[in-house]
């Protein structure tokens, strides 16, 4: 199979499900616009938090900020989406929905799509890296792909 790419997208057809940023999450989407993956981090205890919240669940501090992360992760699991649930994705199946564990902290999971690979390329625990995909003129998302350097530290 091939994965979804943005190359043949146009402004025609159904709109994607556009994220609705709010004051707590705006940093994340600002990061995407700047080509950076930013994850909320507690400035008091240092834990990362995803999804972003108004308080740190580890220490209840409200001193939180979005920080750029490495974009490196390991693949935890994936599924091949073959059934669309949103009009935008009707012509985009199949695609690979995946959960990856970001390198910054054990258990810091990020749900995404895998791109630039086939199903056969995937193994749990494999190193992956973020890549920003323009799905639509109004939507760029952080997808992941197999790490080009094989995950060298």
């Amino acid at each position: 199979m091939t994965t979804t790419t943005a190359s043949d997208d146009t402004a025609e057809g159904p709109l994607p499900p556009l994220p609705q940023p709010d004051p707590v999450t705006q940093f994340f989407w600002d990061g995407i616009a700047a080509g950076e993956l930013r994850i909320q981090r507690c400035q008091n205890c240092g834990h990362y938090l995803h999804y972003p919240k108004v308080l740190c669940r580890y220490c209840q501090s409200d001193d939180l900020a979005g920080e750029r992360v490495s974009g490196r992760a390991t693949l935890y699991t994936w599924t091949i989406a073959v059934q669309p649930f949103h009009p935008f994705y009707v012509d985009r199946i199949p695609y690979i929905v995946a959960t990856v564990e970001l390198d910054e902290e054990p258990g810091l999971m990020f749900m995404t799509q895998m791109t630039d690979c086939t199903e056969e390329d995937l193994r749990i625990g494999m190193p992956v890296e973020v890549t920003f995909v323009d799905l639509h003129p109004e939507l760029t998302l952080p997808f992941f792909r197999p790490a080009r350097d094989g995950g060298a530290k």
């Binding site: 994607p16 499900p17 556009l18 994220p19 609705q20 940023p21 709010d22 999450t25 994340f28 995803h50 999804y51 935890y76 699991t77 994936w78 599924t79 091949i80 989406a81 073959v82 059934q83 669309p84 649930f85 949103h86 009009p87 935008f88 994705y89 009707v90 985009r92 199949p94 695609y95 929905v97 995946a98 959960t99 564990e101 054990p106 258990g107 810091l108 999971m109 990020f110 749900m111 995404t112 799509q113 199903e119 193994r123 749990i124 939507l139 998302l141």
Partner: protein
């Protein structure tokens, strides 16, 4: 045995379950309740507590003519019927009320073909699919957010971690259908073969359509009261030996850091802490099958087999009627239709009463039933009184 007054299951009932029945949610609630009252030999006047997932309990009580209501509870973000049931058990055990009605009422969700045309925005089980606000802004734009996708990821992680195969899930599906073939209440009763399973379409690979429960309109009702009262009623007595309700995080399955050991691990631990019984004492298990992988998680969490061994346990026939632990003897929600856990409580009760007919487990004295997976789950151990 759990603390407080000993609680019994005395009445079980369903509405006229089916696809697009044309009946209202209230109709399903009332039909199921009447069936449960008739089963128990009780009247509305005997009920003084009510809880529901899917309907508003005080509205239900008003429609049913229950007054006074001495106890009620509303379940919103809750593990479906098992929330209603465990709350009702606790309410009776504590003396908060004497006879409690636990409900799960479900309106069939829109089909996937309707969903992609924008339907479902107001249905409780699909409204989240198109809304990319709050936490959902990190899920929906990615083409995710349907339960089949987390279930696909849970299933795939299990396969990858333990070397299980898609055929292993097929053995489970074939076994459940065999049980359904002996259940007049089941919607799907034609036997399946492993080839039938493998030929079924994927919905979120490796998850197939036959791994998913079947959306229907349904109402399910179970009545709990004290052991003392139960002994005066017509039905054979079925007692609650142990019960548990647990959550391990908020409701985001997609970012769970361990998708193999989830809430059932905690629920199972609490269930066994509440009894001197052990897994070897259980005669039949009714394990929630919203997706096949959930049954595998429960088999391992409850200790019926070792970690990573559920696939082999199923493949070797243990879960089939006549095997060491018949599982989902009514056919499961994949075959009787979505009742969100209530059918497992009801089938357990019928097995312990000796009322399961052709699919009766000989000499069944101990049953365990469970519901949900991932962030939260619940269940109970029932015994023949």
């Amino acid at each position: 045995m759990s603390a407080g007054r000993r609680v019994a299951v005395v009445g079980c009932g369903y509405s006229h379950v089916g696809r697009n029945t044309g009946l209202s949610i209230d109709d399903h609630m009332i039909q199921a309740t009447k069936a449960a009252l008739a089963d128990a030999g009780l009247t509305v006047a005997d009920i003084d507590g009510i809880t529901s997932v899917g309907t508003e309990p005080l509205n239900d009580a008003w429609l049913l003519g229950i007054e006074p209501v001495n106890w009620w509870a509303t379940g919103m973000m809750a593990p479906a019927f098992s929330y209603s049931a465990t709350q009702a058990i606790a309410a009776v055990a504590s003396g908060f009320c004497d006879t409690a009605l636990a409900l799960r009422v479900i309106g069939q969700q829109p089909s996937s073909s309707a969903l992609v045309k924008g339907a479902g925005a107001n249905h409780p089980m699909t409204s989240m699919l198109h809304r990319a606000a709050g936490d959902r802004q990190f899920i929906v734009p990615f083409g995710a957010g349907s339960p089949v996708q987390w279930a696909g990821m849970f299933t795939n992680r299990y396969i990858q971690q333990y070397g299980a195969t898609e055929e292993d899930f097929g053995h489970h599906v074939v076994t459940q259908r065999y049980h359904a073939s002996m259940n007049d209440d089941a919607i799907f009763r034609e036997p399946l073969t492993l080839d039938d399973y493998l030929a079924a379409r994927y919905v979120s690979k490796p998850l197939r359509i036959l791994d998913c429960d079947y959306p229907v309109d349904s109402g399910s009702a179970v009545i709990f009261t004290t052991e003392e009262r139960a002994r005066d009623l017509a039905q054979p007595v079925v007692l609650v030996e142990s019960y548990a309700l647990n959550a391990i995080r908020d409701l985001h399955f997609e970012v769970m850091s361990d998708m193999v050991h989830t809430a059932p691990v905690q629920t199972a631990k609490k269930l066994w802490e509440g009894t001197e019984l052990t897994p070897a004492d259980v005669d039949t298990a009714q394990l929630y099958d919203g997706f096949s992988i959930i049954v595998f998680q429960w088999l391992e969490a409850l200790g019926f087999c070792g970690e990573g061994e559920a696939a082999a346990f199923v493949r070797e026939g243990n879960t089939r009627l006549g095997g060491s632990l018949p599982v989902n003897t009514d056919g499961g929600a994949c075959n009787v239709g979505r009742r969100h856990g209530a059918n497992f409580c009801i089938e357990s009760t019928r097995q312990l009463r000796g009322q399961s007919g052709e699919r009766q487990v000989d000499g069944a004295e101990v049953a365990v039933w469970t519901n949900a997976v991932g962030p939260f789950s619940a269940g109970a151990i029932l015994t023949k009184g």
